[in-house]
């Protein structure tokens, strides 16, 4: 479903952050992505959620080579991808509720059609009491949970999460991982970038390990 072939990436004229990255993610798969800080995890994910173009190589998303996509075709691909950003990227002047509803609102859905779902999802991640809170009044872990809810809201075919448990305690981390497992069971492919060895150990999923710009698959 998703395929990287000899993908290389360099930012402007800097050194190659990724070189010769090759792997395939099958439909409904569950993978971790690990590697030391600065190894290029976030960079690889950015290529996958179409935030950046590779310097070379071929990326295929949902069986379509992205190099051939016209600009107006990007939204349809992006709507199938849910992203939990490492820095959350919540919109500061919108409430938790409005941030989570954003993907649906951007699709032109009416509020009546999603209000209950948004509230239910926020309750599920333990944010049911903070629907009207602005991001600036939330703790790191709370922002993270709002960000996860937003990523999941659009029922994506692929969920990409960059350090989704970096700011929560082990118990909440497990609860969130459980959410991802649940989604995976319903058919969503999952890719989670993390440093958290315990999180990886607690789940039998294979890991893509980034090292010196190349990817190895473990497990």
């Amino acid at each position: 479903m998703i395929r990287f072939e000899n993908v290389g990436l360099r930012y402007e004229s800097g050194p190659e952050v990724l070189r010769d990255v090759t792997f395939t993610l099958e439909r409904g798969s569950f993978h971790f992505l690990t590697g030391p800080s600065g190894a290029g995890k976030t960079s690889l994910l950015r290529l996958m959620f179409l935030d950046h173009k590779p310097s070379r190589g071929l990326i295929t998303m949902f069986d379509r080579p992205i190099a051939t996509l016209a600009r107006h075709e990007l939204p349809d691909i992006r709507r199938q991808i849910g992203v939990v950003f490492q820095d959350f990227r919540l919109i500061a002047h919108l409430t938790a509720y409005e941030n989570v509803a954003l993907p649906l609102r951007a699709r032109g859905k009416s509020e009546d059609s999603y209000r209950a779902d948004v509230i239910e999802l926020l309750q599920w991640v333990g944010m049911g009491e903070r629907l009207d809170a602005l991001p600036s009044t939330l703790s790191g872990g709370e922002k993270q949970r709002v960000a996860i809810a937003r990523a999941v809201m659009g029922r994506p075919r692929l969920l990409i999460a960059d350090e989704p448990t970096g700011n929560v305690d082990a118990e909440m981390g497990n609860r969130l991982l459980h959410l991802f497992v649940e989604l995976n069971r319903l058919g969503t492919s999952i890719l989670i970038a993390t440093h958290d060895r315990e999180l990886i150990a607690s789940n039998p999923a294979p890991a893509l390990v980034l090292h010196k710009g190349e990817v190895e698959i473990h497990g």
């Binding site: 939204p75 349809d76 919109i91 919108l94 699709r107 509020e111 009207d132 659009g154």
Partner: protein, 309 residues
């Protein structure tokens, strides 16, 4: 203008969302909100003044033209050796042969005296002055107008001292001046519109730049340019409307003040004034301001977004 965050219970904010304006994803163009309203208000003030002036001038010209073009005057000067009665009858005969003339009425000596008196400042009726005779001719405005050149020639031939005054010179002068004023006003309106477009373009770009991260995020969650543009242009609709209404209100105050000043001065000719229907067309100014703002903002956003991935 930064949006005030909504606080309170979910229920209240949901209600608010239902009844009040849907909250935008984009905060308004940074801090340019208020200043932009003021600039648009200034532009609309100038536009309303210009439009009001041109409409008033048009109205005045039309009413003068209408009064004058339905009427002709035949002037019969006293000429040595000519019988005034014969002169007059010859003129009337010539007139009666011309189609399209409703009435031809010879003004009495007293009427003519009354007309001339303000100019000479003496009681002319008492003086033993050689008096021109005047025939007031009314044209049938529903019929095609008579050939005035031919009529003038026929009248002059009918008897010495007979002359046609068609007021045409006077009408041409008025119309020429009115047309020049109109052309100038349209040029001014065009400049005001272009300036507004430039300012809104600038403000939209600034807003897009200030909200760059939000725009990027919206793209990443699959929003189309169209969605982003509508979120932004809604602000410009409000800014344009507010500025437009403010500018119009200021211009109405100005017109009100001007008409008070004019009514208190005694001028020979009535000056152009604002008619009720002019006010109605002035209402178009804020509408136009909002339209220009929205369209400009939209085009600027779409162009800006087109350059992003």
């Amino acid at each position: 203008m930064v949006e005030v965050p909504m606080t309170g219970t979910v229920r209240r904010s949901l209600l608010a969302r239902l009844f009040v304006e849907t909250r935008s994803v984009m905060p308004a163009a940074g801090s340019t909100g208020l200043s932009l309203v003021l600039v648009i208000a200034t532009m609309c003030f100038l536009a309303s003044l210009t439009l009001g002036a041109v409409l008033a001038v048009n109205h005045a010209t039309q009413s003068w033209t209408r009064q004058l073009s339905g009427a002709l005057t035949v002037e019969i000067l006293a000429v040595e050796g000519q019988d005034p009665e014969m002169q007059r009858d010859a003129a009337l005969t010539a007139l009666s042969k011309t189609p399209g003339i409703l009435t031809a009425k010879t003004l009495s000596r007293d009427d003519v005296a009354a007309l001339i008196q303000p100019w000479l400042g003496v009681d002319v009726a008492r003086e033993d002055l050689p008096f021109p005779q005047l025939i007031d001719v009314r044209l049938d405005t529903s019929a095609p107008p008579p050939d005035l050149d031919a009529l003038a020639a026929a009248l002059e031939k009918s008897a010495p001292g007979v002359r046609l005054d068609s007021h045409r010179q006077w009408l041409d002068d008025i119309n020429g001046a009115a047309n020049a004023a109109q052309g100038l006003s349209y040029a001014i309106l065009a400049i005001i519109t272009l300036t507004t477009i430039a300012i809104v373009t600038f403000a939209t770009r600034a807003g897009l730049l200030a909200n760059h991260e939000i725009v990027e995020l919206l793209h990443l969650i699959g929003a189309r340019d169209n969605f982003i543009a509508s979120e932004i242009q809604r602000h410009f609709l409000l800014l344009g409307l507010r500025g437009g209404v403010l500018g119009l209100a200021l211009s109405l105050l100005a017109f009100g003040g001007m008409s008070i000043v004019m009514n208190s001065s005694s001028l020979l000719v009535s000056m152009p004034t604002i008619q009720p229907w002019t006010l109605t067309s002035l209402l178009l100014v804020p509408v136009m301001a909002a339209l220009v703002s929205v369209i400009t903002a939209r085009m600027t956003v779409m162009r800006g977004l087109g350059r992003m991935m």
